[in-house]
Symmetry: C2
Subunit: 286 residues, 2 copies
């Protein structure tokens, strides 16, 4: 049996691990359950996530971690399979995306390139408009969470999309939680602005997109009927599990969504079960 676990709001909030979580994860493993951490945060690669797990005292390994940056890289290399030479990816995002693209040997530009972290120049207006500043080998735009978003990068991405590049997003979260508040999410800084400019929607590779579940199923050969998605957000985690026809969905109340959210008549998704906190699972017969 598989447990797919969201991280933020389930395992931790920021750098604070919820009480009893490491013990609960060990209990699951000792009972022969397979644990996979499924996160939409694209700013970290799996290796970087592993460091965070280790620092916070939670035993894990890279094979247990499945982030939207990795999900995107897998999709590009194994499903999209753009023919060379027009197989380069223009990235809006941070190092986590770049690391995952590298791990799949996908050529890319943009991302954390310091050459793009600057104001527009008269040469940019001209060269972007006539295409002379564009890389003819770009066949895909991948929009993730970019803390260094600027006009120059958006203008590049727009031109590549206008020239026919495939439009992908690591995820389209409107915000993400931090320090008990919310900050602009991946969907808000890149994916939705580009969708508005071009009139087309990206294929999102994070929850609740079923493309992510397909990738997880492909990698772990899991049996959906014997898989449970655990998360704190109805519109990402629980929707992901319900639409994926998983055997179970389990909401925890340590994050964003509350009981009233799924008891509402227009609830975006309703979990099969809920617990106040993940460690309550220890008291349930597994």
């Amino acid at each position: 049996m598989f447990f797919l676990l969201d991280c933020d709001g389930v395992i931790w909030t920021g750098d604070h691990v919820f009480e009893g979580v490491p013990e609960t994860l060990e209990l699951l493993r000792s009972r022969g359950k397979k644990v996979v951490f499924v996160t939409n945060n694209s700013t970290k690669s799996r290796e970087e996530y592993l460091k965070k797990f280790t620092t916070l005292g939670i035993p894990s390994n890279v094979e247990e971690i499945f982030g939207s940056a990795y999900s995107s890289a897998i999709y590009i290399s194994r499903i999209l399979e753009l023919p060379a030479p027009k197989n380069k990816v223009f990235v809006l995002g941070e190092a986590g995306i770049e690391n995952e693209l590298r791990s799949e040997n996908i050529p890319f530009i943009g991302g954390t390139d310091p050459a793009l972290r600057r104001d527009m120049t008269p040469e940019d207006w001209k060269g972007l408009a006539d295409g002379s500043l564009l890389d003819p080998d770009v066949g895909c735009v991948l929009a993730g969470l970019d803390f260094h978003i600027n006009y120059l990068k958006l203008a590049h991405a727009l031109q590549y999309l206008r020239r026919g590049a495939v439009f992908l997003a690591t995820n389209i979260d409107s915000t993400f939680p931090m320090n008990h508040n919310f900050f602009p999410g991946a969907g808000s800084v890149g994916a939705m602005p580009l969708a508005f400019m071009t009139g087309t929607q990206p294929l999102a590779l994070g929850k609740p997109s079923q493309a992510m579940l397909d990738a997880i199923e492909g990698k772990f050969q899991l049996d959906r009927a014997r898989t449970c998605m655990v998360g704190d957000r109805l519109n990402t985690d629980i929707k992901f599990g319900v639409e994926g026809k998983l055997g179970g969905t389990l909401a925890v109340l340590t994050g964003v969504s509350k009981r009233a959210d799924w008891e509402a008549r227009d609830a975006v998704a309703v979990p099969a079960f809920y617990v106040d906190k993940l460690s309550d699972l220890g008291a349930v017969a597994l």
Copy 2:
């Protein structure tokens, strides 16, 4: 009789004035028609627009120019009338907006402030989340075209909106034309990202928003039945005139929209008349 004229795609494209336009404007004025230039571009104030008109050899004066930055300033000072001290405006945009806000004595922060043109710091994540870095007097967020958009500014705007600031946009154009191509517009860099983050739509003060037409009507005391809107875009200019129940709408074919656009069954708006170019008006009995 009033002629409301869009600029880009009607009078000029970039710095190129269409043939015969200065003469046509003089002809209109000599026949006693009142001319008003109505533009969504918020990066220039009326004074800056006047400089462009003068440089391009088109006689005009500040009173003939009505841009979305001016429209926004008028709305804030004369209709919104936020009570002091919570009447400060947080601006996403360039100097044109700031100049128009100053002309109406509206206090503002943000805009071209160099202190906001930088990366996020650990202090920003903390101080934005707990509010200690926010100005308690901000009662309004005004989103325009900001060529220096960044994560720090979007995060500020999001926090002000979450604290109840009124959400305004100079305009919500998805793109704007430049050098025979398109670049990210005001709606794409600020207004729509913030709308996606907050789940609320801004009140837009540019075409086709009727708030702009109300402001023009108030200023010029025009008779709508004896007013004609001239423009190149169906979804801004022509829609603006049709929804405002103006006496006439006139499309020109020197810009974005083509005949096929309004002949389509799902046309967003249909002009009452069209000419190939503005100077063709000279051949029409006025």
